[in-house]
């Protein structure tokens, strides 16, 4: 044992000496491995981050929801002519809830554009929406700390409370805390009860949620007196087929408003469940593509590493011959290349992974707005990083070891004669 440790120390000495002697080649290999690791790791980090952000953004509008608008009939039905306009009425909400058990939550939505909001004389014109409390979960309208969304009491008692989108809040209040403040909505005093949290949103149907305000639907009707709804938003239970719900919807509404359930323009629907499914598939495609690119990058880095190692062995064949002529055993030569490749991989991998983590944290720390926000959460995938370093190490190892083994196996004259 003592002898082995002792020989090992000797061996390390020999190795360190050669490291020192071959600074350029060593640093090149280290750089190649570090670079390969950074490329692959970052590519995958951004893919994972993008995937995560996309998922968040697509749930910005809401979860498993469908949005329903009134349309216009196109078919003759029970003696009624085509071209009749279908308007949604407040009682439709209860009807749907009662007749379609797959519906989990539901809310009416009234809309009015260009409503004047006034805070201490500062006036802006914004969209005001009247909804039920269930809107909060369905459409991801969560309040920032210290505030809340409209609740059941607000709704039942037609309270004059208002919930603001972040942009509205900024324009009206600047840096002031809006919660509890009074503002005038078309000259009627309202109390601000909350401001929506910042959220990623990649789709909308009346502008981004940050840019409008919400009051209870009951209050809305009391003030503006709208007879019709703009739309109905409802969520579906997990595992429910949204196509079947839509058919059911046409049947129920067709029964009430007397139109053919197959007359699709009679109602407009936006099925986010199906939308998400499509989105998911597209993104899956992108992710697979990214993995493919990652694999290719790894391959190229591997070729680079292999090349440097291979050239090195060619250069060093004479040296191997000399050492063998001086009594080196094959294991001396092989071990040298082995430890060399492993140390290089270790250092290169360490540098590569550290830099990747650094760059990712930098991106996370950087303030990013709009579309760039999708890039703001890169996450280093540790197994990917290790697999990358491992692959490069193995490639480097084999491309070094095999020629070295060969050079050490032939008669030393052949290695010595090598030009």
């Amino acid at each position: 044992m003592k002898l082995i440790t002792y020989k090992f120390i000797l061996f390390i000495r020999l190795l360190l000496r050669e490291f020192k002697a071959q600074k350029l080649r060593m640093s090149l290999t280290v750089a190649a491995i570090a670079w390969g690791t950074i490329s692959v790791t970052l590519l995958m980090a951004f893919t994972v981050g993008l995937q995560q952000q996309m998922r968040k953004a697509s749930s910005g509008l809401g979860g498993r929801i469908m949005i329903l608008w009134g349309g216009q009939t196109s078919k003759v039905f029970q003696g009624l002519p085509p071209g009749r306009r279908i308007h949604l009425h407040p009682e439709d909400v209860d009807l749907l809830k009662k007749r379609i058990p797959e519906i989990e939550q539901i809310s009416e939505e009234y809309l009015r554009w260009g409503v004047t909001l006034d805070y201490n004389g500062k006036q802006i014109n914004k969209l005001v929406s009247g909804v039920a409390p269930s809107f909060k979960d369905m459409r991801s309208h969560y309040a920032q700390m210290g505030g809340r969304f409209i609740n059941k009491i607000d709704y039942e008692e037609k309270k004059r409370v208002i919930f603001l989108g972040t942009r509205v809040c900024e324009e009206l209040f600047g840096n002031d805390d809006p919660v509890g403040k009074r503002i005038l909505v078309n000259s009627i005093p309202f109390t601000v009860i909350g401001v929506m949290v910042d959220k990623l949103q990649n789709s909308n149907y009346h502008g981004p949620d940050e840019n409008y305000t919400i009051i209870p639907a009951t209050t809305f009707v009391a003030i503006f007196g709208d007879p019709w709804l703009d739309n109905i938003v409802f969520s579906m239970k997990e595992g429910v087929d949204s196509d079947l719900v839509e058919q059911e919807l046409f049947r129920v509404m067709g029964g009430k408003y007397r139109f053919d359930p197959t007359d699709s323009p009679a109602l407009w629907t936006w099925d986010l469940v199906k939308n998400k499914e499509i989105e998911r598939k597209i993104f899956l495609g992108i992710v697979i593509f990214m993995w493919f690119i990652g694999g290719m990058t790894l391959l190229i880095a591997g070729v680079g590493v292999a090349n440097i190692m291979y050239v090195a062995v060619r250069e060093r064949t004479r040296e191997i011959g000399t050492k063998i002529a001086l009594g080196a055993q094959r294991k001396h030569i092989i071990w040298q290349f082995l430890t060399e490749a492993l140390s290089i991989a270790f250092v290169g991998g360490l540098i590569g992974i550290s830099f990747s983590i650094l760059i990712c944290s930098l991106f996370r720390a950087l303030p990013m707005e709009g579309a760039l926000e999708l890039l703001s959460e890169p996450t280093v995938n540790v197994p990917v990083a290790f697999i990358t370093v491992g692959t490069l190490a193995v490639i480097g190892l084999f491309s070094g070891i095999f020629p070295a083994r060969k050079a050490a196996s032939v008669d030393p004259v052949e290695a010595l004669r090598y030009e």
């Binding site: 000797l10 000496r17 002697a21 071959q22 002529a325 009594g327 080196a328 030393p412 004259v413 010595l416």
Partner: protein
């Protein structure tokens, strides 16, 4: 050294190279005996097979046919570990182009065979310094080959060949790349080594060097043309 018995015994050694169309017969049946303590010059025209022979004797190459006994044991039967040990301890080989590791100092070059032999640090240091001073280079221990003259490089190579106290020194045109004065220094070292009892075999083109050896083996076309000791035919 132990005795004046036979160290190296070659019989019927041939070496053929198959280079596509032409078959080169570099050695065509060499019978040669080298005793302990001999000082031999191998001469002959270019291409006569001197290097080929020397490489076989140095266990750096294998013959196509024939028997090579080293210390009475057939080299052909030896495994790689045994061969490595022989190259490491029994034979000191010196090349025309020195074959020093370019990035290592004189000290480190001499250290190599000792590392391969697994010699302890104190012994290594002592042997390295003794060998370097033997070739007159103790002052140059920390110099790299690029900082040394040709003659000095060859002397480092000799110190390296002597590292593990080999019984025989084999040198393939050790003075071929050197000027006359440096060549003379090398030969003087060889003479000293021989006086100490070591066998020395050197290839040379320089008759003045060959004449300082006790025995001259002349090769021609892969066979021994003549073999004389102190002018007398053997």
């Amino acid at each position: 050294m132990m005795n004046n018995g036979t160290l190296i015994s070659l019989s019927g050694i041939t070496k053929h190279y198959d280079t596509g169309k032409v078959k080169v017969r570099a050695l065509q049946g060499i019978d040669l005996e080298i005793k302990r303590g001999e000082f031999i010059a191998i001469i002959g025209p270019s291409g006569s097979g001197k290097s080929t022979l020397m490489n076989i004797v140095g266990c750096l190459d294998t013959p196509t046919a024939g028997e090579y006994l080293l210390d009475g044991r057939p080299v052909a039967n030896m495994g790689i570990h045994q061969l490595a040990a022989i190259r490491n301890k029994k034979i000191g080989f010196i090349f025309q182009n020195f074959n020093l590791l370019p990035y290592a100092t004189a000290y480190e070059n001499v250290e190599l065979p000792l590392i391969f032999a697994g010699a302890p640090g104190a012994i290594r240091k002592e042997k390295i310094m003794r060998n370097l001073s033997m070739v007159g280079l103790s002052e140059r221990a920390d110099h790299k080959p690029t900082e040394l003259s040709g003659g000095e490089m060859q002397r480092v190579a000799i110190a390296r060949a002597l590292a593990n106290d080999p019984e025989v020194i084999l040198a393939d045109e050790p003075t071929g790349n050197l000027d006359t004065r440096s060549g003379k220094e090398i030969i003087e070292i060889f003479e000293r080594l021989n006086v100490e009892g070591r066998s020395v075999v050197t290839i040379t083109h320089d008759m003045s060097i060959a004449e300082r050896c006790h025995r001259i083996v002349r090769l021609k076309d892969g066979i021994i043309e003549s073999d004389t000791r102190n002018g007398n035919k053997i």
